[in-house]
Symmetry: C2
Subunit: 195 residues, 2 copies
Amino acid sequence: MPRTYVMATRNAHKVEEVSRILAASGADIELLPLPGEAPDVEEIGSTFAANALLKARSAAEFTGLPAIADDSGLCVDALNGMPGIHSARWCGRHGDDRANLELLLGQLAETPAPRRSAQFVCAAVVVDPSSGTEQIVEGVLEGRLAEEIHGEGGFGYDPIFVPMGEQLTTAEMSPEEKDAISHRGQAFRHLADLL
Amino acid sequence: MPRTYVMATRNAHKVEEVSRILAASGADIELLPLPGEAPDVEEIGSTFAANALLKARSAAEFTGLPAIADDSGLCVDALNGMPGIHSARWCGRHGDDRANLELLLGQLAETPAPRRSAQFVCAAVVVDPSSGTEQIVEGVLEGRLAEEIHGEGGFGYDPIFVPMGEQLTTAEMSPEEKDAISHRGQAFRHLADLL
Protein backbone atom coordinates (compact mmCIF):
# COMPACT_ATOMS: atom_id res chain seq x y z
CA MET A 1 0.00 0.00 0.00
CA PRO A 2 1.49 3.38 -0.91
CA ARG A 3 2.42 5.73 1.90
CA THR A 4 0.77 9.16 1.71
CA TYR A 5 2.77 12.41 1.87
CA VAL A 6 1.70 16.01 1.43
CA MET A 7 3.84 18.13 -0.91
CA ALA A 8 4.41 21.52 0.72
CA THR A 9 4.23 23.82 -2.29
CA ARG A 10 1.70 25.88 -4.22
CA ASN A 11 3.85 25.63 -7.35
CA ALA A 12 2.03 23.24 -9.72
CA HIS A 13 5.23 22.80 -11.78
CA LYS A 14 7.05 21.48 -8.72
CA VAL A 15 4.29 19.02 -7.79
CA GLU A 16 4.33 17.66 -11.33
CA GLU A 17 8.12 17.42 -11.48
CA VAL A 18 8.54 15.82 -8.05
CA SER A 19 5.69 13.35 -8.67
CA ARG A 20 7.34 12.36 -11.94
CA ILE A 21 10.78 11.91 -10.32
CA LEU A 22 9.43 9.88 -7.38
CA ALA A 23 7.29 7.68 -9.68
CA ALA A 24 10.28 6.99 -11.94
CA SER A 25 12.39 6.10 -8.91
CA GLY A 26 9.93 3.30 -8.05
CA ALA A 27 9.01 4.79 -4.67
CA ASP A 28 5.56 3.60 -3.52
CA ILE A 29 4.35 7.04 -2.55
CA GLU A 30 1.05 8.87 -2.91
CA LEU A 31 1.73 12.62 -3.10
CA LEU A 32 -1.12 14.92 -2.07
CA PRO A 33 -1.20 18.62 -2.96
CA LEU A 34 -1.08 21.18 -0.17
CA PRO A 35 -4.66 22.01 0.92
CA GLY A 36 -5.74 25.42 -0.33
CA GLU A 37 -6.55 26.56 3.20
CA ALA A 38 -3.08 25.73 4.56
CA PRO A 39 -1.30 28.78 5.95
CA ASP A 40 1.24 30.70 3.89
CA VAL A 41 4.80 30.20 5.06
CA GLU A 42 7.23 33.09 5.37
CA GLU A 43 10.44 31.81 3.83
CA ILE A 44 12.74 33.71 6.17
CA GLY A 45 15.53 31.13 6.30
CA SER A 46 18.93 32.07 4.91
CA THR A 47 19.58 28.71 3.17
CA PHE A 48 17.63 26.45 0.81
CA ALA A 49 17.52 23.74 3.50
CA ALA A 50 16.18 26.11 6.15
CA ASN A 51 13.38 27.31 3.89
CA ALA A 52 12.46 23.78 2.78
CA LEU A 53 12.20 22.78 6.45
CA LEU A 54 9.97 25.77 7.25
CA LYS A 55 7.58 24.72 4.46
CA ALA A 56 7.55 21.01 5.32
CA ARG A 57 7.06 21.58 9.06
CA SER A 58 4.14 23.91 8.40
CA ALA A 59 2.46 21.44 6.02
CA ALA A 60 3.01 18.52 8.40
CA GLU A 61 1.59 20.48 11.31
CA PHE A 62 -1.46 21.56 9.31
CA THR A 63 -2.29 18.16 7.81
CA GLY A 64 -0.89 15.72 10.37
CA LEU A 65 0.71 13.88 7.43
CA PRO A 66 4.39 13.43 6.69
CA ALA A 67 5.36 16.31 4.42
CA ILE A 68 7.81 16.66 1.57
CA ALA A 69 9.17 20.06 0.50
CA ASP A 70 11.89 21.48 -1.63
CA ASP A 71 13.54 24.82 -1.86
CA SER A 72 15.67 25.43 -4.86
CA GLY A 73 17.22 28.15 -6.94
CA LEU A 74 19.90 29.32 -9.28
CA CYS A 75 23.28 30.36 -7.88
CA VAL A 76 25.31 32.55 -10.27
CA ASP A 77 29.03 32.76 -9.49
CA ALA A 78 29.39 36.28 -10.96
CA LEU A 79 26.65 37.39 -8.53
CA ASN A 80 28.27 35.74 -5.47
CA GLY A 81 25.73 32.91 -5.59
CA MET A 82 22.67 35.06 -6.09
CA PRO A 83 19.69 34.89 -6.89
CA GLY A 84 20.01 31.80 -4.63
CA ILE A 85 17.23 31.66 -2.05
CA HIS A 86 15.79 34.82 -3.68
CA SER A 87 15.37 33.09 -7.08
CA ALA A 88 11.56 33.04 -7.10
CA ARG A 89 11.26 36.76 -6.39
CA TRP A 90 14.40 38.12 -8.01
CA CYS A 91 12.44 40.73 -9.98
CA GLY A 92 10.78 41.92 -6.77
CA ARG A 93 7.53 39.97 -7.26
CA HIS A 94 7.00 36.30 -6.46
CA GLY A 95 6.86 33.73 -9.24
CA ASP A 96 7.15 35.88 -12.39
CA ASP A 97 9.50 33.47 -14.18
CA ARG A 98 9.87 35.55 -17.31
CA ALA A 99 10.63 38.81 -15.48
CA ASN A 100 13.10 37.00 -13.21
CA LEU A 101 15.17 35.54 -16.02
CA GLU A 102 15.04 38.67 -18.18
CA LEU A 103 16.33 40.67 -15.22
CA LEU A 104 19.17 38.18 -14.74
CA LEU A 105 20.13 38.38 -18.42
CA GLY A 106 20.20 42.18 -18.14
CA GLN A 107 22.32 42.12 -14.98
CA LEU A 108 24.83 39.86 -16.73
CA ALA A 109 24.75 41.60 -20.12
CA GLU A 110 28.37 42.71 -19.66
CA THR A 111 29.55 39.43 -18.11
CA PRO A 112 31.48 37.40 -20.69
CA ALA A 113 31.04 33.65 -21.24
CA PRO A 114 33.96 32.47 -19.08
CA ARG A 115 32.35 34.14 -16.06
CA ARG A 116 28.75 32.94 -16.60
CA SER A 117 29.08 29.75 -14.53
CA ALA A 118 26.12 28.88 -12.31
CA GLN A 119 24.52 26.06 -10.35
CA PHE A 120 20.96 24.89 -9.89
CA VAL A 121 20.63 23.81 -6.25
CA CYS A 122 17.76 21.89 -4.63
CA ALA A 123 17.27 21.07 -0.96
CA ALA A 124 14.63 18.36 -0.50
CA VAL A 125 13.29 17.51 2.93
CA VAL A 126 10.81 15.16 4.54
CA VAL A 127 9.31 15.91 7.93
CA ASP A 128 7.43 13.07 9.63
CA PRO A 129 5.38 14.25 12.61
CA SER A 130 4.59 10.67 13.74
CA SER A 131 8.27 9.84 14.30
CA GLY A 132 9.57 13.38 14.80
CA THR A 133 12.23 12.84 12.11
CA GLU A 134 13.49 15.42 9.64
CA GLN A 135 15.69 14.43 6.73
CA ILE A 136 17.45 16.79 4.33
CA VAL A 137 19.23 16.02 1.06
CA GLU A 138 20.64 18.31 -1.62
CA GLY A 139 21.22 18.09 -5.33
CA VAL A 140 23.39 20.37 -7.47
CA LEU A 141 23.54 20.77 -11.25
CA GLU A 142 26.59 22.67 -12.56
CA GLY A 143 26.30 24.70 -15.74
CA ARG A 144 26.41 28.14 -17.29
CA LEU A 145 24.01 30.89 -18.27
CA ALA A 146 23.08 31.29 -21.92
CA GLU A 147 23.06 34.77 -23.49
CA GLU A 148 19.44 34.40 -24.64
CA ILE A 149 16.27 32.49 -23.83
CA HIS A 150 16.03 29.02 -25.43
CA GLY A 151 13.26 26.44 -25.07
CA GLU A 152 9.70 26.15 -23.87
CA GLY A 153 9.96 23.29 -21.36
CA GLY A 154 10.58 23.32 -17.63
CA PHE A 155 10.00 26.46 -15.59
CA GLY A 156 11.90 29.08 -13.61
CA TYR A 157 15.36 29.74 -15.04
CA ASP A 158 15.39 26.62 -17.26
CA PRO A 159 15.35 28.64 -20.53
CA ILE A 160 18.73 30.25 -19.75
CA PHE A 161 20.55 27.37 -18.01
CA VAL A 162 22.89 25.08 -19.97
CA PRO A 163 24.21 22.11 -17.91
CA MET A 164 27.94 21.44 -18.02
CA GLY A 165 28.87 19.37 -21.06
CA GLU A 166 25.53 20.12 -22.80
CA GLN A 167 24.59 22.46 -25.63
CA LEU A 168 20.87 22.75 -24.82
CA THR A 169 19.16 24.56 -21.98
CA THR A 170 17.16 22.49 -19.50
CA ALA A 171 14.06 24.05 -21.12
CA GLU A 172 15.04 22.41 -24.43
CA MET A 173 15.34 18.92 -22.89
CA SER A 174 12.57 16.37 -22.48
CA PRO A 175 11.30 16.01 -18.90
CA GLU A 176 13.07 12.64 -18.63
CA GLU A 177 16.39 14.06 -19.92
CA LYS A 178 16.15 16.94 -17.46
CA ASP A 179 15.17 14.75 -14.49
CA ALA A 180 18.11 12.41 -15.14
CA ILE A 181 20.64 15.17 -14.40
CA SER A 182 18.77 17.93 -12.62
CA HIS A 183 19.32 19.20 -9.10
CA ARG A 184 15.73 18.25 -8.25
CA GLY A 185 16.10 14.81 -9.82
CA GLN A 186 19.24 14.13 -7.80
CA ALA A 187 17.75 15.37 -4.55
CA PHE A 188 14.40 13.55 -4.82
CA ARG A 189 15.93 10.26 -5.97
CA HIS A 190 18.11 10.46 -2.89
CA LEU A 191 15.06 11.28 -0.77
CA ALA A 192 13.11 8.37 -2.29
CA ASP A 193 15.87 6.04 -1.12
CA LEU A 194 15.36 7.31 2.41
CA LEU A 195 11.56 6.97 2.47
CA MET B 1 49.54 76.39 -9.07
CA PRO B 2 46.87 73.66 -8.99
CA ARG B 3 47.70 70.33 -10.59
CA THR B 4 45.26 69.23 -13.28
CA TYR B 5 43.56 65.82 -13.26
CA VAL B 6 40.88 64.34 -15.46
CA MET B 7 37.97 62.64 -13.69
CA ALA B 8 37.19 59.38 -15.49
CA THR B 9 33.41 59.28 -15.26
CA ARG B 10 30.37 60.37 -17.25
CA ASN B 11 28.32 60.55 -14.03
CA ALA B 12 27.77 64.26 -13.30
CA HIS B 13 26.78 63.42 -9.71
CA LYS B 14 30.16 61.83 -9.11
CA VAL B 15 32.12 64.73 -10.59
CA GLU B 16 30.21 67.12 -8.34
CA GLU B 17 30.65 64.98 -5.23
CA VAL B 18 34.36 64.28 -5.78
CA SER B 19 35.10 67.92 -6.61
CA ARG B 20 33.35 68.95 -3.39
CA ILE B 21 35.24 66.39 -1.29
CA LEU B 22 38.65 67.28 -2.78
CA ALA B 23 38.00 71.03 -2.41
CA ALA B 24 36.98 70.58 1.24
CA SER B 25 40.13 68.54 1.88
CA GLY B 26 42.26 71.50 0.82
CA ALA B 27 43.88 69.67 -2.09
CA ASP B 28 45.16 72.10 -4.74
CA ILE B 29 43.65 70.23 -7.65
CA GLU B 30 41.88 71.25 -10.84
CA LEU B 31 39.48 68.48 -11.87
CA LEU B 32 38.55 68.33 -15.56
CA PRO B 33 35.55 66.38 -16.85
CA LEU B 34 36.13 63.42 -19.17
CA PRO B 35 36.11 64.67 -22.80
CA GLY B 36 32.90 63.65 -24.56
CA GLU B 37 34.87 61.92 -27.31
CA ALA B 38 36.78 59.68 -24.87
CA PRO B 39 36.15 55.98 -25.50
CA ASP B 40 33.62 54.04 -23.44
CA VAL B 41 35.21 51.63 -21.00
CA GLU B 42 33.90 48.10 -20.54
CA GLU B 43 33.84 47.58 -16.79
CA ILE B 44 34.71 43.90 -16.93
CA GLY B 45 36.70 43.74 -13.70
CA SER B 46 35.39 41.64 -10.86
CA THR B 47 36.20 44.15 -8.08
CA PHE B 48 35.58 47.86 -7.51
CA ALA B 49 39.34 48.51 -7.62
CA ALA B 50 39.78 46.67 -10.92
CA ASN B 51 36.98 48.63 -12.56
CA ALA B 52 38.22 51.96 -11.21
CA LEU B 53 41.68 51.20 -12.64
CA LEU B 54 40.21 50.33 -16.06
CA LYS B 55 38.44 53.69 -16.17
CA ALA B 56 41.41 55.74 -14.94
CA ARG B 57 43.92 54.07 -17.29
CA SER B 58 41.65 54.68 -20.27
CA ALA B 59 41.15 58.36 -19.38
CA ALA B 60 44.88 58.87 -18.75
CA GLU B 61 45.78 57.23 -22.04
CA PHE B 62 43.23 59.31 -23.96
CA THR B 63 44.09 62.69 -22.40
CA GLY B 64 47.73 62.27 -21.41
CA LEU B 65 46.75 63.74 -18.03
CA PRO B 66 46.85 62.06 -14.65
CA ALA B 67 43.40 60.55 -14.15
CA ILE B 68 41.22 60.03 -11.11
CA ALA B 69 38.42 57.44 -11.07
CA ASP B 70 36.18 55.74 -8.62
CA ASP B 71 34.09 52.62 -8.73
CA SER B 72 31.60 52.20 -5.98
CA GLY B 73 28.47 50.38 -5.03
CA LEU B 74 26.19 48.95 -2.42
CA CYS B 75 26.98 45.54 -0.90
CA VAL B 76 23.99 43.91 0.80
CA ASP B 77 24.84 41.10 3.22
CA ALA B 78 21.56 39.23 2.63
CA LEU B 79 22.46 39.18 -1.09
CA ASN B 80 26.01 37.90 -0.51
CA GLY B 81 27.43 41.36 -1.17
CA MET B 82 25.40 42.13 -4.27
CA PRO B 83 24.56 44.43 -6.12
CA GLY B 84 28.27 45.23 -5.55
CA ILE B 85 30.05 45.96 -8.82
CA HIS B 86 26.68 45.53 -10.57
CA SER B 87 25.09 48.39 -8.58
CA ALA B 88 24.69 50.81 -11.49
CA ARG B 89 22.90 48.29 -13.70
CA TRP B 90 21.13 46.14 -11.11
CA CYS B 91 17.76 46.54 -12.86
CA GLY B 92 19.34 45.38 -16.14
CA ARG B 93 19.85 48.91 -17.55
CA HIS B 94 22.69 51.27 -16.72
CA GLY B 95 22.10 54.23 -14.46
CA ASP B 96 18.36 54.03 -13.73
CA ASP B 97 18.72 54.90 -10.04
CA ARG B 98 15.03 54.69 -9.22
CA ALA B 99 14.51 51.31 -10.91
CA ASN B 100 17.66 49.95 -9.24
CA LEU B 101 16.60 50.82 -5.73
CA GLU B 102 12.96 49.81 -6.20
CA LEU B 103 14.15 46.42 -7.44
CA LEU B 104 16.37 46.05 -4.38
CA LEU B 105 13.50 46.92 -2.03
CA GLY B 106 11.35 44.29 -3.78
CA GLN B 107 14.05 41.64 -3.55
CA LEU B 108 14.37 42.30 0.18
CA ALA B 109 10.65 42.70 0.91
CA GLU B 110 10.69 39.52 3.01
CA THR B 111 14.06 40.20 4.64
CA PRO B 112 13.54 41.44 8.21
CA ALA B 113 15.39 44.37 9.77
CA PRO B 114 18.12 42.38 11.56
CA ARG B 115 19.24 40.98 8.21
CA ARG B 116 19.19 44.24 6.19
CA SER B 117 22.81 45.21 6.90
CA ALA B 118 24.77 46.64 3.98
CA GLN B 119 27.88 48.64 3.10
CA PHE B 120 28.58 51.41 0.65
CA VAL B 121 32.05 50.75 -0.79
CA CYS B 122 34.21 53.08 -2.90
CA ALA B 123 37.50 52.33 -4.59
CA ALA B 124 39.26 55.54 -5.65
CA VAL B 125 42.32 55.45 -7.87
CA VAL B 126 44.78 57.83 -9.47
CA VAL B 127 46.79 56.83 -12.52
CA ASP B 128 49.66 59.11 -13.50
CA PRO B 129 51.06 58.35 -16.97
CA SER B 130 54.05 60.65 -16.51
CA SER B 131 55.40 58.66 -13.56
CA GLY B 132 53.70 55.33 -14.35
CA THR B 133 52.25 55.18 -10.83
CA GLU B 134 48.86 53.78 -9.87
CA GLN B 135 47.44 54.30 -6.41
CA ILE B 136 44.30 52.70 -4.98
CA VAL B 137 42.42 53.50 -1.77
CA GLU B 138 39.06 52.28 -0.47
CA GLY B 139 36.36 53.69 1.78
CA VAL B 140 33.52 51.76 3.42
CA LEU B 141 30.35 53.05 5.08
CA GLU B 142 28.48 50.49 7.19
CA GLY B 143 24.72 50.73 7.51
CA ARG B 144 21.37 49.12 6.82
CA LEU B 145 18.67 49.26 4.19
CA ALA B 146 15.49 51.18 4.97
CA GLU B 147 12.10 49.60 4.13
CA GLU B 148 11.09 52.60 2.03
CA ILE B 149 12.57 55.47 0.05
CA HIS B 150 13.43 58.57 2.12
CA GLY B 151 15.02 61.83 0.97
CA GLU B 152 15.80 63.71 -2.22
CA GLY B 153 19.53 64.30 -1.89
CA GLY B 154 22.47 62.29 -3.15
CA PHE B 155 22.05 59.71 -5.91
CA GLY B 156 22.14 55.98 -6.49
CA TYR B 157 21.00 54.01 -3.47
CA ASP B 158 21.22 56.99 -1.06
CA PRO B 159 17.42 57.13 -0.48
CA ILE B 160 17.38 53.63 1.07
CA PHE B 161 20.70 53.58 2.95
CA VAL B 162 20.86 54.46 6.66
CA PRO B 163 24.42 54.65 8.04
CA MET B 164 25.15 52.79 11.27
CA GLY B 165 24.18 54.88 14.28
CA GLU B 166 22.02 57.23 12.18
CA GLN B 167 18.25 57.55 11.71
CA LEU B 168 18.31 59.34 8.34
CA THR B 169 19.23 58.00 4.92
CA THR B 170 22.23 59.52 3.16
CA ALA B 171 19.66 61.15 0.83
CA GLU B 172 18.21 63.05 3.81
CA MET B 173 21.61 64.44 4.88
CA SER B 174 23.23 67.65 3.70
CA PRO B 175 26.09 67.13 1.23
CA GLU B 176 28.56 68.06 3.97
CA GLU B 177 27.05 65.63 6.49
CA LYS B 178 27.14 62.86 3.91
CA ASP B 179 30.70 63.61 2.76
CA ALA B 180 31.95 63.56 6.35
CA ILE B 181 31.08 59.88 6.76
CA SER B 182 30.55 58.48 3.26
CA HIS B 183 32.57 55.78 1.53
CA ARG B 184 33.45 58.27 -1.22
CA GLY B 185 34.38 60.95 1.31
CA GLN B 186 36.71 58.56 3.12
CA ALA B 187 38.31 57.28 -0.08
CA PHE B 188 38.89 60.66 -1.73
CA ARG B 189 40.18 62.36 1.42
CA HIS B 190 42.69 59.52 1.62
CA LEU B 191 43.51 59.98 -2.07
CA ALA B 192 43.92 63.75 -1.61
CA ASP B 193 46.58 63.03 1.04
CA LEU B 194 48.47 60.99 -1.55
CA LEU B 195 48.32 63.58 -4.36
